[in-house]
Structures are given as structure tokens and as C-alpha cells.
């Protein structure tokens, strides 16, 4: 079979294999750390849930929980 355009593209990009942002071995550690931070910050927010604490604790807790959950599920073997 003659060389096809997509095959050419594949051959041409041989030097750029896909690189994950976080390697497989680090996913569980990162996921666990982020989820612990999320738990800690939501606890702090729960102690004093005022409007001022919403961006101070709530926002970083949500961020940590969002990324932490994704890395945790990957680290546990469910690759989403």
C-alpha cells in the first residue's frame, strides 16, 4: 500500500510522542495530596463559613478537589 497522508503525519511526528502532564507513577500521590488539602480546607471553611472565607478556603478547596479527584481516579486505575 502506498504511503498515505495520515501515515506521513504519523511518521513525521515521531519525535513528539504524547507526554502526560503527570506520569502514571505519581498520579496516586498527587491525587491523595490534593484530596487531603481539599478535605483540610473544607474543614476550615466549615468551622467558620462566612463570605470572606468562601474565596479564602472554599475556592482553593474546590480547585484541589477538582484536580485531586481526576488524578485519584486515574491513580486507582480508572483512566478517565
Amino acid at each position: 500500500m502506498s504511503a498515505t497522508p495520515l501515515l506521513d503525519i504519523w511518521e513525521a511526528s515521531a519525535s513528539q510522542p504524547f507526554q502526560p502532564s503527570i506520569g502514571k507513577s505519581a498520579q496516586l500521590t498527587i491525587g491523595f495530596t490534593l484530596l487531603s488539602i481539599a478535605l483540610l480546607l473544607s474543614g476550615l471553611f466549615g468551622l467558620n463559613n462566612t463570605l470572606k472565607n468562601l474565596p479564602l478556603y472554599g475556592l482553593p478547596a474546590s480547585l484541589a478537589f477538582g484536580f485531586g479527584a481526576v488524578y485519584m481516579i486515574c491513580g486507582c486505575g480508572v483512566y478517565v
Partner: protein, 398 residues
């Protein structure tokens, strides 16, 4: 080469015609050599149809001593390589040749050479019967899933097989004691399927082998980091002729060896083999196969094609949406379906290019972040509600 089909794209004729296009036109009086290879599926039948558990199995194959050709043939010869010298019966032709026909030499059986002119479409039916004490494996259906995860940097493969042995059935009931004796000297051949060896790419991890009951513990995985890894599966029971066994296997690979990022934009190219699966000396026929390639959520398929191999079957394509864990919109799923394929398809790769932007990659964490944030907001707003009984004594603290 193109297949000649009827108006509805299928053929019901006894002969299937193909058009072979020569790279350079053949001038008058010139000669050329063409070699054609093809597979005939479901061509052999066990004779006798039922045997004892420890007996040898014989297969019968009927074909034409004349090569099926749409042109007059001047000279021809058919060689059969059977891999066994045990050929108890074969049709002897009369009047085709002055000397003995066919000639049998060891494991080879030869019809011809015929030096007489044979008209187009002529056939001379012959049948041979030879020993084949191995399973005749047919997969009535193979479903193969490839799931790409950019967050995990992983390519997950799962294959579900519906396997059948088309060999000779058992006359008596299955005898476990006899089977144990047959296996004690492990070299004794059997018409039953004992083991499947699945070659996996180097670096494959987390293999599993389950069936309807659950995990099948009679498997062994020989991982390979540099060389090919091997997954050795023993079915829950020996699969004799007429018996069936369905199971699923799966494994993980690093995405880096299957996907590459393009220099421009957010485009990626993915290259996966159409077929992996067991590699058996006797081969496996697949009546139906389905390959599902599930791309990350939010990606857009721009193009796909097959590359490599010589025997690409006709692939029916369908693009659907597949929803699984942590999905909000669902993922693009490309389904390729093929009928009547053979092991050789493992040389064929499917190449898919797709676009996957950072924003669609962040869809999962962002939706979780928004969800969590709204919980905090609700918690704060509920704290504003004064649930005390009696007169308000304090001012609301914000």
C-alpha cells in the same frame, strides 16, 4: 484489487470475482507473473463428525483440481501443504493426466501438472481428508475496545471473545480421567483447545482474564519491557469440538507509544492495530469483529484511515457517543465493523487524527470544581438563615 459485487454490495454467486489491476499494462505477447493469496473461511469439515476424546481428528476439504480462473489455462498445478503425512483419503482424478494424479510426497499433495488447455470456469471437484488433531477455532464475535485517556496517559484495551471450536464433536461424554491422562504426557495432541497465547506489546501492564463467572486464575503473564510480552490463557475447561467459550481480556499501555502530538494546534494522531488477540499456529477465523476506539471527552475526530498490511477487509464505520466515568458530554466513539477476517489483520493499523483543546481537557476538573464550589456557596447561604426561636438579639454576621 477490487471485488466485483452485485448491485446491493454483496455476492450470492458461488464464485467471487476480483479485478486485479496491473501496475503497468501488459503488451501483446508479453508475460507477467502474478501471485495471489487469499483465505477461504469455514472451508474444512471434520470427518468423521464425532470422535472419541483421545482420537485423532481428520478434516475434509473440497476444492477444484482446476484452478478457478476466468481465463483459459494452458498449464497448471495445485500443491497442497498439509503439515501432516497422514492423508487417509483423497480423490484420484481420471483422464486428466497420464501418470498418477495426485502425487503424494510426505506432507505434500500435488494435483497436476496438467498440460492440456482448460477452458475458463472449468472445475473438477476433488476432496482430500487429512489429520488435524488441533482445535478449529472460530470467533463468532470479537469486540475490541480501545480507550484513550490523556489525563492518565493511558491506552486501555479490552477484548471480548465468543469462541467456538468447529472440530469434531465428542461421541461420548467428556471423561475427566482420560483428559487428565492425556495431559499427563503434555505432548499428546488433542482436538480440544487447551491454551491461548496472546502476544502483547512491550510495556503492557495490568492484564486481566475474566469470563461470565469471574476471574479465571489459570493464566500467566510474562511481561516484557523491551521484547513482546505474552499473556498465556488457559480456558476454564478444554474446548472440544462444538463447544463454546466466551471470555474477556484487557490490559493497559502507556499512551506515549500510540499517540503523537502534532507540531501545530491541538491535534494528535493515534495509531492502534485493528486486531491483537491470540496468535495460534492453527489460526483463528473471526466471523464478526468490532473495533471501538473511544477518544477523550471533548475531542473531535478529523480523519481516520488504515495503514499497512495487505488484507484489509471492508470496514463499516459508525461514530457514536459513549458515556463513562466523570463524563458530562460523553466521548467520541469510532466503531469499525468487519466480517470474515483472519489473524493476518494484526498487521493493519488504524490511524486517527483528532483535535483536543486544553479547554475540553479541563472540562472534567472544572465541572467538579463548580460542583464543589456551589456546595460551599449553599453552605454559606444556609448559614445566613436564622433558625433561632424568639426575638432576634444579635445582628447577622456576614
Amino acid at each position: 484489487m477490487t471485488a466485483v459485487t452485485g448491485a446491493d454490495g454483496t455476492t450470492v454467486e458461488p464464485s467471487q470475482y476480483y479485478i486485479v489491476t496491473l501496475p503497468t499494462p501488459l503488451a501483446p505477447k508479453e508475460q507477467t507473473t502474478i501471485s495471489i493469496s487469499y483465505y477461504v473461511l469455514g472451508a474444512v469439515t471434520p470427518v468423521p463428525a464425532s470422535i472419541r476424546q483421545e482420537e485423532k481428528q481428520y478434516l475434509s476439504y473440497s476444492f477444484s483440481a482446476y484452478f478457478p480462473s476466468a481465463y483459459p489455462t494452458l498449464k497448471q498445478k495445485t500443491n497442497m501443504k498439509l503439515g501432516t503425512a497422514d492423508i487417509p483419503s483423497y480423490t484420484s482424478t481420471t483422464g486428466l493426466r497420464t501418470s498418477k494424479d495426485p502425487e503424494v510426497q510426505g506432507t505434500k499433495l500435488t494435483y497436476g501438472q496438467y498440460d492440456t488447455r482448460v477452458e475458463a470456469g472449468a472445475s473438477y471437484s476433488v476432496t482430500i481428508r487429512y489429520e488435524f488433531t488441533k482445535p478449529v477455532l472460530v470467533a463468532s464475535l470479537l469486540e475490541r475496545d480501545i480507550e484513550v485517556s490523556h489525563w492518565g496517559g493511558n491506552l486501555a484495551a479490552e477484548e471480548r471473545y465468543w469462541l467456538r471450536n468447529d472440530g469434531a464433536t465428542l461421541i461420548d461424554h467428556f471423561d475427566r480421567v482420560k483428559w487428565a491422562m492425556q495431559n499427563f504426557a503434555s505432548s499428546l495432541p488433542s482436538s480440544a483447545l487447551r491454551e491461548l497465547k496472546v502476544p502483547l506489546r512491550a510495556g503492557s501492564v495490568d492484564p486481566y482474564f475474566t469470563d461470565d463467572i469471574g476471574n479465571v486464575s489459570t493464566s500467566r503473564y510474562r511481561p516484557g519491557l523491551v521484547r513482546e510480552a505474552s499473556l498465556e490463557l488457559k480456558p476454564r475447561y478444554p474446548v472440544f469440538g462444538g463447544w463454546k467459550y466466551s471470555f474477556r481480556i484487557g490490559w493497559n499501555n502507556a499512551l506515549g507509544s500510540f499517540a503523537r502530538k502534532l507540531k501545530v494546534g491541538n491535534s494528535y494522531v493515534l495509531s492502534v492495530p485493528v486486531l491483537e488477540g491470540p496468535r495460534m499456529q492453527e489460526g483463528i477465523q473471526y466471523e464478526n469483529m468490532q473495533l471501538n476506539i473511544i477518544l477523550p471527552e471533548g475531542s473531535k475526530i478529523t480523519k481516520w484511515e488504515t495503514a499497512g498490511g495487505t488484507n484489509v477487509p471492508e470496514l463499516a464505520v459508525e461514530q457514536t457517543v459513549h458515556k463513562t466515568f466523570m463524563d458530562t458530554l460523553g466521548r467520541q466513539k469510532l466503531t469499525l465493523r468487519a466480517r470474515n477476517v483472519v489473524d493476518e489483520l494484526r498487521d493493519v493499523n488504524v490511524l486517527i487524527s483528532y483535535e483536543y483543546s486544553l479547554l475540553s481537557a479541563l472540562r472534567k476538573p472544572i465541572s467538579i470544581i463548580l460542583g464543589t464550589m456551589s456546595v460551599f456557596v449553599v453552605a454559606w447561604s444556609l448559614s445566613l438563615v436564622n433558625t433561632s426561636i424568639g426575638k432576634r438579639t444579635k445582628k447577622m454576621i456576614i
